[in-house]
């Protein structure tokens, strides 16, 4: 008989270095509990608009189930070109400057792999979505963290960014509108960052998946700033704006050089993005604006409800201007984010995500998604009020 072995020794060091996801523990805690209200979900609670689903179904009936071009369906890239010209006057060539990907997740992975050499430093602005650090680590890069703060409404300032830049810095990953803080960036602040990008000859990976979900303020794509188009790859997708998370469709827009290089990886690791989803995405861009705007107005109302609610029960919460997350401060309760979230789940059956999951600077905060029904938000607020009152006694 041949000797047995421990298969974990075959796992590469870079993978072992990925820190465990703070969310796993919550999954285990939630499972088996009844009457749970979740504000912990990072996806819309709307079902994909019917006209989009219907188009996907029709394409399946017609048998449109083969591969597409590696870059994605030409009609979809044409629609994206038109859409971004209309929205921002941006001019991306559909034949060479757009790549359709399997969600923004894939776009992020291949963008990082495209620009990062082993040892390169990549600046990650936190609190932010959890995938940036692992992507950089897996590409052999070195993550360098820059924190945003409540006093700046979690927007990034050039002053905060400057000290983190060294001669090894290759790129910055930006994520505005931001998950988990809901922060957006004003043009003026972005200009300051663009100046630093040029001074230090940097590249920008800008994850703008929450682009369409802004309230009041207008989103400014980083690539729309003077001189930034060739220094930026914009990552975006259909999940949040059109409630298409499970269809897994994203895209990257950038210079022909960067997009071609990303396609070199994409063609071997993914071949092409799901065809059914690409057809749904064409429909979303052509006819989805009204439904999308209706969903945004609905989020806007829930945003008012939840922000007012948190401030009423004594959890200070600034007004998030984008995405669908509120980020109340719980530091004055005497509990850490994790303690608060775990006890809240245990005692009141409300799921929230501790802010430190999104980076150390998220400590003292909770991410609460308002992509939940008005009733659920109201019930969650009542339970949280009970919980906070209980802590005071």
């Amino acid at each position: 008989m041949r000797p047995s072995c421990n298969p974990s020794k075959f796992v590469a060091d870079a993978v072992k270095e990925i820190p465990p996801s703070g969310i796993r523990r919550f999954f285990d805690l939630v499972s088996g509990l009844e009457d749970v209200i979740s504000l912990g979900v990072g996806e819309p609670d709307f079902i994909t608009p019917w006209h989009i689903r219907e188009m996907c179904i029709h394409s399946l009936e017609k048998g449109q189930t083969s591969y597409t071009s590696n870059y994605g369906l030409p009609e979809l890239r044409d629609e994206l070109t038109r859409t971004y010209y209309r929205r921002y006057g941006l001019d991306y060539d559909p034949s060479s400057e757009i790549l359709i990907t399997t969600g923004v997740s894939e776009a992020l992975d291949i963008a990082v792999r495209t620009v990062v050499n082993p040892g390169d430093e990549v600046i990650i602005v936190q609190p932010s979505y959890v995938a940036y650090m692992p992507s950089v680590v897996l590409a052999g890069g070195k993550p360098v963290i820059v924190s945003t703060h409540r006093d700046d409404e979690f927007s990034l300032t050039a002053e905060a960014l400057k000290p983190a830049i060294t001669d090894k810095t290759k790129a910055i990953i930006l994520n505005f509108p931001n998950n988990p803080t809901g922060a957006i960036m004003e043009q003026e602040d972005l200009e300051g960052i663009a100046d630093l990008v040029v001074e230090n000859d940097l590249f920008v990976i800008s994850d703008e998946v929450y682009e369409c979900l802004t309230y009041g303020g207008k989103h400014v794509p980083f690539s729309s700033l003077d001189g930034m188009k060739e220094r930026t790859v914009m990552l975006n997708g259909f999940s949040k704006a059109y409630a298409m998370t499970g269809l897994r469709l994203g895209f990257a827009m950038g210079s022909p050089e960067i997009i071609h290089s990303m396609m070199m990886i994409h063609q071997y690791c993914m071949m092409c993005a799901p065809t059914t989803a690409q057809i749904g995405a064409i429909e979303a861009l052509r006819h989805g604006k009204e439904e999308m705007e209706r969903m945004v107005r609905e989020y806007d109302r829930r945003r008012h409800l939840i922000v007012r609610g948190f401030n009423r029960i004594g959890l200070e919460c600034c007004n998030p201007k984008g995405a669908f997350y509120a980020f109340p401060y719980i530091g004055n309760t005497g509990l850490s984010s994790s303690e608060f979230a775990e006890r809240l789940l245990d005692e009141k059956k409300v799921v929230t995500i501790p802010g430190d999951v999104f980076g150390e600077s998220g400590e003292g905060f909770l991410r609460c998604s308002y992509a939940a029904s008005v009733n659920d938000i109201k019930k969650a607020l009542e339970r949280m009020e009970d919980f906070v009152d209980g802590l005071k006694q």
């Binding site: 969310i23 919550f26 999954f27 939630v30 749970v36 979740s38 912990g40 979900v41 990072g42 996806e43 609670d45 709307f46 079902i47 979505y129 959890v130 995938a131 998950n179 209706r294 107005r297 806007d300 109302r301 829930r302 008012h304 409800l305 007012r308 609610g309 799921v351 995500i353 008005v374």
Partner: protein
């Protein structure tokens, strides 16, 4: 104009007014307090805005969609298509008025295409509806012909689907 309300067009609709109208269109019973918490206004501001919307005729009416079948009240509905001839000096308004004043008539519409006017009629039985059409509608001078279609089942009424809405299964926790 037979309408007693003065129609004041709301130009440059305020975003808050749109929110109020959307909330009330979905659920007319939403309280001013609740609307206030959803729109970052005070309850008083909401009440004032609603009064103004009612006065200017933007909000026409509040109604309840009832599934009468569930309480054993088996109303019969029919869609009636009418072809009409217009008399001198009288437009469609005159015939529409004659028709919509009957309480049995639930809706009246002027349409393009093969026939002119479509109405929905409600009665207690098929006989009821058939006699109403035969006696009251078909006998009108301007009515050339009628075609009656009884409703067998209503799946959606005024934007409301009359069954359990679709639900979505999401993971309880995700980034």
């Amino acid at each position: 104009m037979s309408n007693s309300l003065t129609f004041v067009p709301v130009t440059n609709m305020d975003e808050k007014i749109r929110h109020i109208l959307e909330i009330l269109e979905t659920d007319a019973r939403t309280s001013p307090e609740e609307i206030a918490s959803l729109t970052d206004m005070s309850a008083q501001e909401v009440s004032q805005a609603i009064v103004k919307l009612e006065e200017t005729g933007v909000i026409r009416h509040y109604k309840t969609i009832v599934d009468w079948d569930l309480v054993g009240e088996n109303y019969v509905y029919a869609v009636i298509e009418l072809k009409v001839t217009l008399e001198r000096n009288q437009g469609y308004q005159a015939i529409a008025e004659r028709i919509y004043k009957f309480p049995e008539v639930r809706s009246v519409r002027l349409l393009s295409g093969n026939y002119d006017i479509s109405l929905t009629v409600r009665g207690k039985s098929m006989k009821d509806v058939a006699f109403f059409v035969a006696e009251k509608i078909a006998t009108l001078d301007q009515v050339q012909s009628t075609s009656t279609h009884f409703v067998l089942k209503t799946y959606k009424e005024d934007g409301v689907i009359l069954r359990e809405p679709e639900t979505i299964e999401r993971l309880p926790v995700s980034f």
